[in-house]
Subunit: 445 residues, 2 copies
């Protein structure tokens, strides 16, 4: 009997949760941004639940929101991802560790080196979330007057990927001889000097670290925009863009897998793992109530700004406790705008409630009981809307514990999620092959 | 009774030791560059011995030596310092963690953020070894055709220090209010936007991490060259340049402390901790034999290149097993050259032995029994040649264990080294005050 397709689960983390009201939820740890002990607990719980990876989201600027929203926000300040995940590597054994790093504001030599180092520190568990950084305020922290243009960011990102992977291949897997008798530590014939000269980058190499345990750490991308989808199809091991419905998810899945195939890749080696906000209740109503309670902790100042942006229209002048009036057409994304309007109409939300929902979290959500959540996840998997999910927990630790203790056992019972890790590396967990060294035939294959 | 002046001890580490022959020494771990378990053991042993800090040296290029030396070298490839020390932060409680980062090839925003993050992860134990990177091969890994001029490197370093410390002060210590009731997470009035515009750097800020636990992580510098001494006197918390004798050490100590005083600082708040290569034996002869045995593991190819550089004259054409002939004057540093010639004469070394010594390690050394080593360290301390040392172990784990098990108890018996940590942060260990936030009066003072 062929085993069922298996679900892959990442945990898309910020120390207090990605939901902007989460720090006020009963039982939350408002100080988790700078308390490593909570993060250790979260990572260890996720590892007990056999998650593929702990995925740390990131930002490179503080001043990208109005001061009224900034003062309410727990999401702009916290540990830096690579140092955090290195610390977590010492208190975990198997779970993958994915950190965000920007191709626009970092040097490829440092990025290649640090992820290789995390891979060696963790026994092959490193992953790199390759981002081009869309936040224009970030540029001002790196000596630039204005943000790098979108197209230039993606050109540089493509070169950056080639440089980083080329640097990871600086040494053959068997380059380090360490022959004590003869005194030969490394075979220079098994070292490759990259000598990359591109439009945007010039890097000699070799890297001063052995080839990563995984060959290359796992490369993760959002893959949302048109150039984002294309670079992901060509280069990513996993994609986490989150279409807001299964129908749209299936279109996205088919599109990105087809692009990968056209790029000459095996589409099975590119995993589609959309970010999903999951709220667990003992009943569906209880789950909805938890979400509604959580949204009440989003301050109106934060929410109304987000709502106005989503609608492309300033709605701060209307009665917060009245219904959403008809809103004129605007430049805002039509589908996103319509989704907000639909919410307001079908759930009969006031402007305040709508603002709090949008200000809290407004992407793909799965809200229900362990059974209904498993149903939905299984449907996405079976109908090829995804190969799994990057789960966002509504609040911590409760939302994470609920998922680990209630949803994971249900997924395991259905035979679509592991009961124990079978391999040791993140590539093993995701079912991805170890890349060949492009400069040296592998002695391991 | 006034307690004696106290010795401070850092461990100046490379995973296999800084001595280039160490990987071949009996009992060594030749694979320690990529085996975190050894590093954890070393850090834990140093912590049991109450060392102030674990200090990870670093390089940013591989190709800075002839291929004949490169193939013998265990020192060019290993873990990246910040990821390594973050991993070690999880398996230690008190020891300081000092990582090297370059002001020439890094962005100040990233450096400020990562060291702040390590400081939060470790409970206030981070230190930054500020280097300008003198290795010209490094420039080629960062998109530059040629190396940045010495003077420009130091100008940029000075700005870089101002930016990094300014970013560390982005938030008042009490900025994070986290008032669940009102929904105020952070007080924007207690946030400072740096807005730095210098000759070399332009950085807006604020940093997206709370002020470090130590206020500022400890800043360490070599302080060797003339501009290096001056910037260290103005900005460093500790200096590790190693004059090769006590007489020279005293001159260096007096000079740097006087410069600090002229810069308006309390000279007690700048610790002079020269790097010292320490070999422990049960007798002085046994210690010398260990050193001699260790030198035999330096390959002649590596050693002869180093010796020729030190003498400013190619000596590879002479009989390796004959004595050093008279060498013509050259551009090499006269004092360094004379020191090599003196070694050859007084110890009657052949060219091979001399090459192996220079190729292995040629700086300040303290070789003897626990008693004679403690005598020398106490003399440096008492006569103000230093405030302690950054100890280099000749080989690992043996050389480290010998120091921890034999020399440290002797220093403790004399009352010049702690028997237990009294504080929790690296600043506590070094007797350094927590810097005031330059933009906000502290609520803690």
């Amino acid at each position: 009997m062929t085993p069922s397709r298996q679900l892959h689960l990442g945990a898309f983390m910020r120390p207090v949760s990605l939901h902007t009201g989460a720090w006020r939820y009963p039982g939350a740890f408002p100080d988790a941004n700078f308390n490593i002990n909570y993060l250790k607990r979260f990572a260890q719980t996720l590892e007990r639940a056999c998650f593929d990876a702990f995925f740390m989201a990131d930002h490179l600027a503080v001043l990208n929101m109005p001061v009224g929203a900034l003062k309410r926000s727990h999401t702009v300040t916290s540990f830096e991802p690579l140092t955090l995940l290195s610390a977590l590597s010492s208190v975990t054994e198997r779970i993958g560790l994915i950190a965000t790093a920007s191709t626009t504001f970092e040097e490829p030599w440092h990025v290649a080196r640090r992820f290789a180092s995390l891979d060696h520190l963790s026994g092959g568990r490193a992953g790199w979330n390759l981002v081009t950084t869309s936040n224009p305020d970030a540029a001002l922290n790196f000596g630039l007057d204005e943000h790098v243009a979108h197209a230039v960011r993606y050109e540089r990102a493509r070169e950056f990927f080639d440089v980083v992977t080329g640097l990871w291949d600086s040494w053959a897997d068997d380059a380090f001889v360490r022959d004590v008798e003869s005194g030969t530590f490394v075979d220079p014939e098994r070292m490759h000097v990259l000598g990359f000269e591109g439009e945007h980058l010039s890097v000699r190499g070799p890297l001063n670290i052995a080839r990563p345990i995984q060959g290359w750490p796992v490369v993760v991308q959002a893959g949302s925009s048109e150039p984002g989808r294309q670079i992901a199809a060509e280069t990513a091991d996993a994609v986490f863009a989150a279409p807001p419905s299964l129908a749209e998810g299936k279109r996205f899945y088919a599109d990105v897998k087809a692009r990968a195939e056209r790029a000459g890749r095996n589409p099975e080696h590119l995993k589609i793992l959309p970010g999903a906000f999951v709220v667990v209740g003992d009943t569906v109503d209880e789950a909805r109530e938890k979400r509604a309670l959580l949204d009440t902790f989003v301050h109106y100042d934060s929410g109304i700004a987000s709502l106005s942006i989503a609608l492309g229209h300033d709605v701060s002048t209307y009665d917060p406790d009245g219904p959403l009036p008809d809103i004129p057409e605007s430049n805002a994304s039509k589908s996103a705008r319509q989704r907000v309007v639909d919410w307001a109409r079908t759930e009969q939300l006031t402007i305040r409630q709508l603002a709090q929902r949008i200000g809290g979290y407004s992407g793909l959500e799965i809200i229900g009981t362990p059974t209904t959540i498993a149903d939905q996840m299984e449907q996405w998997l079976t109908e090829r809307g995804s190969d799994g999910f990057n789960v966002m927990f509504p609040y911590l630790p409760g939302g994470l514990d609920d998922f680990a203790d209630k949803v994971v056992p249900e997924l395991q019972r259905r035979g679509i999620f592991r009961r124990a890790y079978e391999g040791t590396t993140l590539r093993d967990h995701l079912g991805l092959p170890r890349p060949e060294n492009r400069f040296f035939a592998s002695s391991r294959s």
